[in-house]
Amino acid sequence: MQNILQVDHIEKYFGNKGNITKALNDISFKVDKGEFVGIMGPSGSGKTTLLNCISTIDTVTTGHITINGKDITTLKRRNLEKFRRDELGFIFQDFNLLDTLTAYENIALALSIQGEKPSKIQSNLQEIAEKLEISSVLDKFPYEMSGGQEQRVASARAIVANPSLVLADEPTGALDSKSSRLLLESFEKLNKELSTTILMVTHDAFTASYSNRILFIKDGKIFNELIKGNDSRKAFFNRIIEVITLLGGDANDVF
């Protein structure tokens, strides 16, 4: 399997001398192409920080992150920007669509900034819209859409340019269970059909059960890893709950 992401002993400190938070404390892991990896952990455990470091929005204090063979911790700003645009796709917790643009325009923007041809933009866009079942809302503005629709549009924007790696921070955090399911099914579809590599941060065991592998983080460290293997999703879900309860959490209040 081709290795897409490699995280090597990264640490991230916040604050100054007197008051230091170790948000990430020596984390290492690998992600192969076509994997769907979930990251779980209690609030404040460093999930968002990890994702920000991988997504080049933030920088690590020590350690190395290699994406598609490139060590992003040593890239210059200009190259980082280019890298981010060409290799990564983001889905944020709070959708983050541009409120001044329609769904269509929001998605098209991700392609136009890569310098794609208009014809390719249009065809790619139609294709992804059908896959994510948002064709009917393409001409709507974010405030005219439901939360689920918005999140699917944001997902479409993240993956339309075929990034090597899609990073999602609690994509279902603001959705009801039906919308969550719709979104996760489309993630699954993207992962299976287009072999898009996905790294997804979540609180929620149900959401996590859609992935193939789960990394558990606590206090900035990886303390457990679950692999779905040949289990059904139901079985995988139960194993996740087990880990959570085993490590002192409450099964209902997942972390």
């Binding site: 997504s55 981010r84 060409d86 990564l88 541009l98 643009l101 098209a108 900034i113 310098g115």
Partner: protein, 662 residues
């Protein structure tokens, strides 16, 4: 005390936000002060009595214009202030949630306004004092007088006036702030208006229709002015102004309805980089600010028009005075009730012949009108001269008077045979028509008698402010012996000291008309007075043009700048997001630059197009009065606009970037 500290700190902290607001008020104060300091400038200039009177007129006019200007500035400052308050919605909302009462929040805002007002007033007055030194040089140049001796110009009256006017403006601003705060609900302060404003014209076809209509209106305004000229009639002028203004309004009103759709058709443009976003930004801005766009466009049009034509108007007013000022001075009486003998005696009693060589002559009105002679020979220019004067009678003078008049201005009189007559005119526009007339007529019939026609001569029979003698005929003396003269005039060429003669004659004319009975009005004009009057009038135009023009320019640029800056913080979120999805910082900066640039250029472009036509029209109107050259003034205007407007643009751009960085 705590509140004043808090507000002082706020002002200091958000200095960058306030910078444009502060600078604009400071500029406005300094302009206001320096134009009102004219009274004090006078001391330094070597002005004649008549020029002093003109400066008084100018001061009076500027006083009135200042009232208008302070109203404009009041609107500007209130507008700018409300933008700043809106920008701080969240901060004010914070105060409220912390339990501060609305009264106290208002107090903070009032304090802030007070501090800003105080500082900008002080700095503005300082700047204005420097500016007024330069302005007095300009005044001297415009009046074409020497500077007696350089003195430092400071006008206490102007200072007090500035403080009073701006004090009132700031009081109003404070009042507005208090009202605004009292009307806010906490929720409004926290929730920014995230929804896109509704597009005014939903259907593209309607928008295009309105746009075409706007072009038609603007076009017809241009057409009317180009066809009929500036001075045809006031109604026509106002109609054109009205059509042009409504056209301009509809232009900006309709723009947002189809601009985006047209841009979408051009896929290469639309799908390039973040143009999708940029176009939306511009479109939504135009959609919500079309009214201020219209006002700004018209203000810029005024500024460009007045600055580039003002100077040429001045030049043309001051040129070509040689024709109408052949004598050092002219005094004349029209005959109403009194007998000619009486008037002659009165003229004698003025005791002005002492000043030099002179000639007294009488004018007679024939039974025929000028137009009745010229029918069929007139061209367009002549028609415009004769317009409204269809019944003006032909003026006659004696041949001996003609000869004397010509000699006194150093010309050899044309040799005339026995019964021959000569036509005189001093209007340039009549030259061609007169030539056609004398070429086609061997004789002319005056008071039912036929006279052989010698020709025509381009000359004035008196010194006057403008060329008014359309057609005068010099007849053999005996031809008018039976006629009653209508006007009696005296021309003088000074011998000895001209200055003294000028001053004494000026005083004489002024006092005579105050004391005389109303049936005799002494018309008096000296060559110096004509020149001074021309410079006076044109100086007035240039002065007011510069004053209003620059205030308008600053106001326009400030409104645009504040409109952009006030939404910068809303856009911060958007640009941050763009950066997250991989738009480079450079591209973000380019996008901001383009957004502001296009926004600034939109009203300016239309204003420039308006101005090209406007200048053309004014030029034509001036052409008939004299030569004019708008090239240099236009260049100067362009320079002023590039510096002021460009300065505001750059300040906006850098302010915008620094808000996004926060």
């Amino acid at each position: 005390m705590m509140y004043s500290k808090l507000s002082l700190r706020n002002v200091k902290r958000s200095f960058k936000d306030y910078a444009i607001y502060f600078l604009t008020i400071t500029f406005a104060v300094s302009l206001f002060y320096s134009f009102n300091s004219l009274t004090a400038q006078q001391a330094m200039l070597k002005l004649s009595n008549s020029q002093e009177d003109m400066v008084q007129d100018l001061i009076y006019t500027i006083g009135i214009i200042s009232i208008f200007i302070s109203t404009v500035l009041a609107f500007l400052i209130i507008f700018a202030n409300s933008f700043l308050v809106k920008r701080r919605k969240k901060e004010l909302g914070m105060y409220m949630t912390l339990g501060m009462s609305k009264f106290n929040i208002s107090k903070i805002l009032v304090m802030e306004t007070f501090f800003i007002g105080l500082v900008s007033l002080l700095v503005g007055l300082g700047l204005g004092t420097i500016l007024s030194q330069g302005l007095s040089l300009l005044t001297a140049a415009l009046f074409q007088v020497d500077i007696q001796e350089y003195t430092f110009v400071f006008s206490t009256t102007a200072m007090l006036k500035t403080i009073l006017y701006f004090g009132i403006i700031f009081l109003i601003v404070m009042l507005f702030n208090v009202i605004m705060i009292n009307r806010y609900k906490l929720i409004d302060l926290f929730i920014a208006n995230k929804k896109n404003q509704q597009v005014k014209l939903k259907r593209t076809s309607t928008a295009i229709g309105v746009f075409v209509l706007s072009l038609l209106l603007i076009g017809s305004a241009y057409f009317l002015m180009l066809k009929y000229g500036l001075f045809k009639s006031m109604n026509l002028l106002w109609t054109s102004v009205g059509l042009g203004s409504i056209g301009t309004f509809l232009f900006f009103f309709s723009l947002s309805g189809f601009l985006l759709n047209i841009a979408k058709k051009n896929e290469k443009l639309y799908y390039k980089n973040i143009n999708i976003f940029l176009l939306r930004q511009i479109n939504s801005k135009v959609n919500s600010t079309f009214i201020s766009m219209t006002i700004i466009c018209l203000m810029l049009f005024f500024t460009i028009g007045v600055l580039s034509t003002g100077f040429s108007l001045k030049n043309s007013l001051e040129k070509d005075l040689t024709v109408t000022t052949p004598y050092d001075s002219t005094l004349s009486f029209f005959k109403y009730e009194e007998s000619v003998e009486n008037l002659e005696k009165k003229l004698e009693e003025l005791n002005v012949k002492q000043y030099g060589d002179n000639i007294t002559f009488k004018e007679y009105y024939s039974d025929e009108s000028i137009s009745s002679y010229l029918k069929g020979y007139t061209d367009k220019q002549a028609e415009s001269v004769l317009e409204g004067k269809a019944s003006a009678p032909l003026t006659l003078i004696k041949r001996s008077s003609y000869e004397g008049l010509a000699r006194l201005q150093g010309k050899d009189p044309v040799n005339l045979e026995q019964n021959e007559v000569l036509i005189l005119t001093n209007q340039k526009d009549m030259k061609k028509t007169m030539k056609r007339f004398v070429d086609n007529n061997k004789s002319i019939k005056i008071n039912h008698k036929e006279y052989p026609l010698s020709g025509f001569q381009f000359m004035s029979v008196r010194t006057d402010k403008s060329a008014k003698d359309t057609m005068i005929v010099a007849l053999p003396d005996q031809a008018v012996s039976e006629m009653e003269p209508s006007r009696i005039s005296l021309n003088i060429q000074y011998e000895g000291e001209a200055n003294k003669a000028d001053q004494e004659l000026y005083n004489l004319i002024e006092t005579y008309n105050k004391n005389a009975d109303k049936n005799t009005y002494l018309l008096g004009m000296t060559k110096t007075l004509v020149y001074e009057d021309a410079t006076g009038t044109s100086t007035m135009i240039v002065y007011i043009g510069i004053y209003l023009g620059i205030i308008f320019l600053i106001s326009s640029a400030a409104i645009l700048a504040l409109q952009q800056l006030s939404e910068a913080s809303d856009n911060k979120v958007r640009y941050d997001l763009l950066k997250k999805i991989g738009v480079t910082q450079k591209e973000v900066n380019q996008s901001i630059f383009k957004q502001i640039f296009i926004y600034f250029m939109m009203p300016l472009s239309l204003a420039i197009i308006h101005s090209i036509f406007g200048i053309k029209v004014v030029n034509r109107a001036i052409m008939s009065a004299g030569e004019s050259n708008v090239f240099f003034p236009s260049l100067l205007t362009a320079g002023v606009i590039i510096v002021v407007y460009g300065g505001y643009f750059l300040a906006t751009y850098s302010g915008y970037k620094s808000i996004l960085k926060k």
